[in-house]
Symmetry: D3
Subunit: 137 residues, 6 copies
């Protein structure tokens, strides 16, 4: 079993808030991330798949196939977007990286599985000091 | 003469557009950066001052003084903000990094000069692939 | 289950030696790290906690709470210090990163648990070529 | 149990192709990596060993011993080499990173075991966007 | 005057040798870089242009225009290539980074000038320990 | 004229203080850097030389010659040392990076000149947030 990781990046705006909370309650909980006028980040997205190398190619997965899946199903729908407004798979959710990482898993796991590979882990680096990892449900 | 550089960071939202242009004209010129719902970045701000070391301390400038000037006059007014809406010194300007770098120079040059130091250069890294440098008017 | 990692940094001096060994024995085992006049590093400290997101906020843990715990219990007691002399939780121990990582676990695990979170891993990067990871006793 | 990782680097040429395939078949499968005139990379090699710290030194493993094993058994045989032509332990294999990571495991695992340590993981970063991990057979 | 830098990357094979020298003379001068079977690198290419911001857009230069010029005239002709064999603008030259940086200047300076911009500097990072800069003839 | 930069690293201990000042005066001016028990850093040292490429090799300077000069005259005398105590060329000076960068210039400029090259710039990165540059007297 070998683990293959591909990094892609996107830049997006968001804010952390709940519509059913007042602005002051949102600021109390989410701090400066609750700025109603939005802020943003350069996100780094690392996707790890695992598998036995294909006997014909010795590839776990073709990197351009993996990159295409990540771009079509996640990065192109997030890059230069507002996560709260523009991203259909984040509708109705707080725009935390926790919710984002689970939603990205749901988008990219089926097409990776369709290629006979196994999605192992997603990592999102939001700033140089913080990152999240998710290994699936 | 020795050159001292301090790095600080901020995360902000912005969009590139001119109010006197249509949305389609803005998108033609500014591409996906014209998304009306904003996007954002982790900005890295490098400030370089120059001078002869102080004979008493051998410092060009005390680093905590320099860091305080950058934070009070620039970073704290930009971090987790919307550059188009929230930042008084960017009002009425297109929110390009070119305009931002000149505006930050105008904010931090006087307090650096007041400390008998010389601002030499500002560098802003917007993404890992792009940065701007400005050496003053 | 989602894994959240926070990076903090500190700069410190240390040397590797055992008081019950001669200097030449220390140098034979620890090489240039046994220099009696000390040397030092910029340490990068990565702390990973894990948990289910809080239904109210979708946070695994509030990042500023996690950062405060790491600073109060570890970074502020190590930064610009001598690990052999100044750090109470390293007293009587060889100042290796192995001993440091276990000692930091003992300092920060109780306050993280008190916040209903689970400490999963500590990583210390001593130089760009070496790092250690510890997943607890 | 503590995990210790050492990073070493090497620069090498390779191409991806099977001798029993035509050039056009190789290009269809391996894309631009099948260029018959070779291309190359700066590879980053991370080797992770695990163990209980030695009671006498509190080291999991002496870093210079680990570095020497990696250099003698892998890096010195790969650095400034052609992976397809010059590297005996890659003879007859497609020069993918998947095959390389397994072959490096076979080279460095026995000498690490001879030092009473356990090889846990090898990671090879081929470009800033791709890396592989292998935890052994 | 503002300076704008764009980073692009390419991976390539090369060797350092002169055809009018023996292999042993080449190895004496160029060391392991003279391996007749080639080696390779991930090259980072930084291109800096300078100018007054355009009054209409406040751009020094449109980043996608700059990126396209670099890719069409340099990166696409170097990526996954053998610098000694495959790259027409390096024919007959020793494949040092010194010769490469001058040749890339000659390729990208005219199209940048055609866009009314000024090429200021090219930087090539060959490994994490070495880089070259060239400011033109 | 082409500019060639080589990066080397060293880890060292130091403190900032003047012997003719009281400890409280030292702490007032130098803050936590005045800790009498020392602290330390991983220093990154970048040395830039400039020149016309040699017609025979097209090298500005042979990289291994440059690396040897930096190691013999600076890095080997600083690595795993105490800058205040162990380094002869820093004796009697405050151990600021300003004094260090001028002293390193004095050590490495003569041997670089002896090789018919011109030392252009030294850069020392003390932490990821601070660096100094010096272009000579």
């Amino acid at each position: 079993m070998i683990f293959l990781t591909r990094k892609e990046t996107f830049s997006a705006a968001h804010k952390l808030y709940r519509e059913d909370w007042t602005q002051s309650k949102n600021e109390e909980v989410f701090g400066k991330c609750a700025n109603p006028n939005w802020h943003g980040h350069n996100y780094e997205l690392y996707v790890t798949v695992k598998g036995e190398p294909d006997p014909a190619t010795s590839f776990v997965m073709n990197l351009s196939t993996l990159s295409d899946i990540i771009k079509e199903n996640a990065v192109n729908r997030l890059d230069h977007m507002n996560i709260n407004i523009d991203v259909d798979f984040m509708k109705g959710k707080i725009a935390t990286t926790e919710n984002l990482i689970v939603a990205i898993w749901q988008q990219i796991e089926p097409p990776i599985r369709a290629k006979k590979c196994i999605l192992h882990c997603i990592r999102i680096q939001e700033t140089e000091k913080n990152y999240l990892e998710y290994f699936g449900p």
